[in-house]
């Protein structure tokens, strides 16, 4: 039994999130999602999630292939066999080794992309500092 743990904010649940969840799911037999609090997400990405934590978690609990959803907790993460992040900036939240899940697809919605700051380079900037 391989337990995977993926950290992310999973804001405005969309096909990009579903793709990284599927990628993580393919690598383990039980997938836990560690969801960033609104404050943690803002500190990490410089952008507060549109959807509050409890609502982001409620949706994820019903996504197929997700065994458990927790508020991100490094103690829970260390009990997992494989650790994943969905943004380069989030790697600082987990002990090594961490694998970055790169979405193979993205939402085609311009409004959603703008709200999620996709392509703004915000993450890339944080990565360069880290």
């Amino acid at each position: 039994m391989v337990i995977g743990y993926a950290v992310g904010s999973f804001d405005l649940l969309n096909v990009r999130d579903l793709d990284v969840i599927a990628q993580a799911g393919e690598r383990c037999s039980s997938l836990l999602l560690g969801v960033l609090t609104d404050d943690a997400a803002e500190a990490l990405h410089g952008r507060r999630p549109v959807v509050p934590l409890v609502e982001r978690m409620a949706l994820l609990e019903h996504v197929r292939g997700v065994a458990e959803v927790v508020v991100h907790d490094v103690d829970v993460a260390t009990r997992a066999d494989l650790l994943f992040v969905t943004s380069p900036a989030a790697a600082v939240l987990l002990p090594e080794p961490v694998e970055l899940l790169v979405p193979r697809r993205d939402t085609a919605s311009p409004m959603l992309r703008a709200a999620l700051s996709i392509g703004s380079g915000r993450d890339a900037g944080v990565e360069a500092v880290a």
Binding site: L12, V15, V51, E55, H62, A115
Partner: protein, 142 residues
């Protein structure tokens, strides 16, 4: 003689744009009243015709998000406000609809259409619309 339990198939149409907690609650509630849940996702065109606005998320992605949920058994495209069209394609016993339709001309039309094929219309409180409107305005402010 034993009678096999009859599985009830439910159908719930919607735009499911920017899928959120209000949508999830509708699906959870619908799921309580049927054994198998089919979710209809309204096309961009039908949505524009009915509400005069375009969805934020395109049809294929809205369908994919709904399909990813463990409480949903089947997802289908909903092309028309004439629900006999989708009934002929997928078949269902009960159609779930927001109670803002109850007692209106379109609600009455829906009920009379559905009764011809033995389908019951089950109303329950819909709060998804306000949440979607709020989300839309939050997104456009960013």
């Amino acid at each position: 003689m034993t009678v096999a339990p009859v599985a009830v198939t439910g159908y719930v149409p919607g735009a499911w744009d920017m899928f959120h907690i209000g949508h999830l609650n509708i699906l959870l509630r619908a799921r309580e009243h049927c054994d198998r849940l089919i979710v209809g996702v309204v096309t961009d065109e039908a949505l524009h015709a009915a509400k005069g606005k375009h969805p934020v998320v395109p049809l294929a992605e809205r369908m994919e998000v709904v399909r990813s949920l463990d409480i949903v058994d089947e997802v289908t495209t909903d092309f028309s406000s004439n629900k006999l069209e989708v009934w002929q394609r997928v078949g269902f016993d009960v159609l779930f609809k927001g109670d803002d339709w109850r007692g209106t001309a379109k609600g009455d039309k829906l009920e009379s259409d559905m009764v011809t094929v033995g389908v019951r219309v089950h109303y329950f409180p819909y709060t998804a619309h306000t949440s979607s409107t709020l989300l839309r305005s939050m997104l456009s402010e960013r």
